[in-house]
Symmetry: C3
Subunit: 343 residues, 3 copies
Amino acid sequence: MHKNKTYTLAALAKTLDLKLDGEPEHEVSGIATLASAAADQLSFYHNSKFFADLKTTRAGAVIISADCARDCPGNKLICENPYLAYAHASHLFAAGDADSRLIHPTAQIHESAVIGSNVGIGANVVIGENVHIGNDSCVGANTVIGSNCRLGKGLSLHAGVTLYAGVSIGDRAVIHSGVVIGSDGFGFARDGEKSVKIAQLGGVQVGDDVEIGACTTIDRGALEDTVIEDGVKIDNQVQIAHNVRVGENTIICGCSAIAGSSTIGKNCIIAGAVGIINHVHITDGVTVTAMSLVNKSITTQGVYSSGTGLSESAQWKKNIVHFKKLDDMAGRLKALEKRDEET
Amino acid sequence: MHKNKTYTLAALAKTLDLKLDGEPEHEVSGIATLASAAADQLSFYHNSKFFADLKTTRAGAVIISADCARDCPGNKLICENPYLAYAHASHLFAAGDADSRLIHPTAQIHESAVIGSNVGIGANVVIGENVHIGNDSCVGANTVIGSNCRLGKGLSLHAGVTLYAGVSIGDRAVIHSGVVIGSDGFGFARDGEKSVKIAQLGGVQVGDDVEIGACTTIDRGALEDTVIEDGVKIDNQVQIAHNVRVGENTIICGCSAIAGSSTIGKNCIIAGAVGIINHVHITDGVTVTAMSLVNKSITTQGVYSSGTGLSESAQWKKNIVHFKKLDDMAGRLKALEKRDEET
Amino acid sequence: MHKNKTYTLAALAKTLDLKLDGEPEHEVSGIATLASAAADQLSFYHNSKFFADLKTTRAGAVIISADCARDCPGNKLICENPYLAYAHASHLFAAGDADSRLIHPTAQIHESAVIGSNVGIGANVVIGENVHIGNDSCVGANTVIGSNCRLGKGLSLHAGVTLYAGVSIGDRAVIHSGVVIGSDGFGFARDGEKSVKIAQLGGVQVGDDVEIGACTTIDRGALEDTVIEDGVKIDNQVQIAHNVRVGENTIICGCSAIAGSSTIGKNCIIAGAVGIINHVHITDGVTVTAMSLVNKSITTQGVYSSGTGLSESAQWKKNIVHFKKLDDMAGRLKALEKRDEET
């Protein structure tokens, strides 16, 4: 997948605002790890666990901080935050679809839809009534966009996305394949043993610079909207229920599930496979570790966990017998302490 | 998304069988919470935690029980179960797709398929051999229906659903986008280190009044069918393996996973992100709380849980060290008790 | 779904290399369990928990081992591994799509794509630039295949699959509906509070004889490829992050999640809803039980678990109070032991 986009180190230094210590005319046409990079590839050094690789790298140039530069054998591109510079550099080597700005003749676009300039629309895309799509956006093949959706500028909907009616998505968002946004929230009233569906009348608002991973689902609100604020990054297979609000720049890793009406603050990190029950509130700057269950609100910034850690099953089976009697054990310990004090 | 459907309170009272205490000609054109409703919106009061909102609401009318009505400042629509009445009312304000009953010219419908009257079929839908679809049903754009599927009356398949061959779905079911029904069960026989696929020859039966959330997957049976009984409500991203049976009116929340051949009784509530291992049986009326693992059959009605609850990670790390030695701790406690008794 | 494919027992014995003890001309046209099989159906006996069913079965023939054959009342097809023989037999009774080898006129195939012989391509399929598809493969309706994908021989992509650009899949793979392969890995560099996307320049390599269940997602690598080796079987709704490597013949059950750069050895069994954090390594031959969290590398073959097991919630709530004080309890136990020794 590494495309043959070739840059001189001088050009890279200028484009990425890096300081070149090396050959300005040397050319690179890809990025690779320090261990595997060849002379025509760029690499980066950001973590001391790769120090041995740095000393022996054959990379054509290394993005590196000033204080580590002396340990780099070849060309250096110097900056304060090499990992961030790598992030910016990576886009220079990414493939671009040549014909992504055409509207495919098989696309079904409602006559009332307003499509911006320089918008690409793939084969078999279906766009409903009164949809707006901003300039410079791309819609992948077989994606369906329901009526009254409002999509920003420079965004990318990959192939096979489904937006129900009334979803709004901000500028520069990236929505991956299999994503469903705006499906009905899971709301029912009981009538004896039967469940009576509550029509989900709210919508979904997704902010600017949001990325949403493959097969993630975001339900529409019951009355008010489900809201994903600007800069939020959501990984694959995350489930976001109705009326959830996710604060700015929060990161949600794969397979996490957030139940109805819960809120997550700004700048949180929700690791993979986390569960968050309904109607809880997580304050700003909280980290929840992998596969934890948030079963109450979190009002203080910090790192939170649940679970038992991994054991060999034979030992684990012995331990969980006692976990199920932990209240009894605690009582017996207390009784012993009491008798001990009395003697 | 609130459509401008407007009703007088007299009309709402009549349609929903509520007792009006207030102005019959007052009009409302949407539903909102007590706190946010305006004079042209309906609201409802069903939970004392909203009591302060009730006293100050500006809603055009409030659905409320008789014994709470005196605390409501404006128009009242009185009934026994306000939340249920809200559920019914919500559908009066839901958007309807104007053209949802047409068959789009790009739909690929096999000549042997039998399509009822007043059926809507979206763009790029593919319908296989010998499929039957009942009257008044809707199939969203880009949905694929395999051969020999039997779909009931008044059902709704949203955009981007995939049904494999031989799936049957009852009347009034709602199937959300990204759902896959009838994919192969995960069945293999070992031949040394290799896995030999077992052809999955059963089908899937989904009953009447079932709702299935976005990106949920239901596998076909190995020999007999996977069965979802009438009135079951399944949220997003639930996985139901081959030969599972889910009993009537059971509710399964988002991201739960049910392994092969397990059965769930009637009127159960399976909360979010629950795991149920294979070949276990859960009796009627059981509740399993969020993110619990059901690793054995449940034969007595009740509420069941697993997990540790959430802690700050620093404390949690200290605790799990001891969890892994809990069997040892229990033995030491017993030894102390024995010595204590002997002294 | 049982198709009327009919075989004599003599034909089955010959095709499947079984020893017939019974009527060679007897015909069967389906497979069923011992308890439900009729005289025109085949069954199999592989587990002593079905012994009562064996004694009373009305099956037209039973696949059975030699040492159990005397307990079978009717026709027997004898072999060493009846469950494996059933796996092979099952395919004889599976439905085949009559027209699956045609290329549907609505398919959008880029002129540079190279399509093998005897390939079936469904309606609305979109195939990008420079894609190669091997002989005897099938692509289901509404599937999208990005540019530069390389697909092997005899493979099956079901309806509604999405492959991003640059994905390679080996021979005889089976990819179920809703699968997304090649979506961007979840990689960002922090720039203050904002996340800067790292372009994901690697691809995905899927080996021969791999099966991937519905709505599973496999992300492309950041620099190098994500790799699924030969013979791996992956169930529904599994999430595989960038740069993961899954070793040969490993089995991953539904809803498991594997975070970035982790590796799983050969011949492992990852049960359902397991979480594996990033950058850990699991050696060959490991089993992880359902819903466990692998939060460290596993270097020794064996069976591993986490979690607490299921309890009634009332008891569970009492126990988790003490789990959160387990470090304190352990300290108090140790103090008691010390005092006990001193007295």
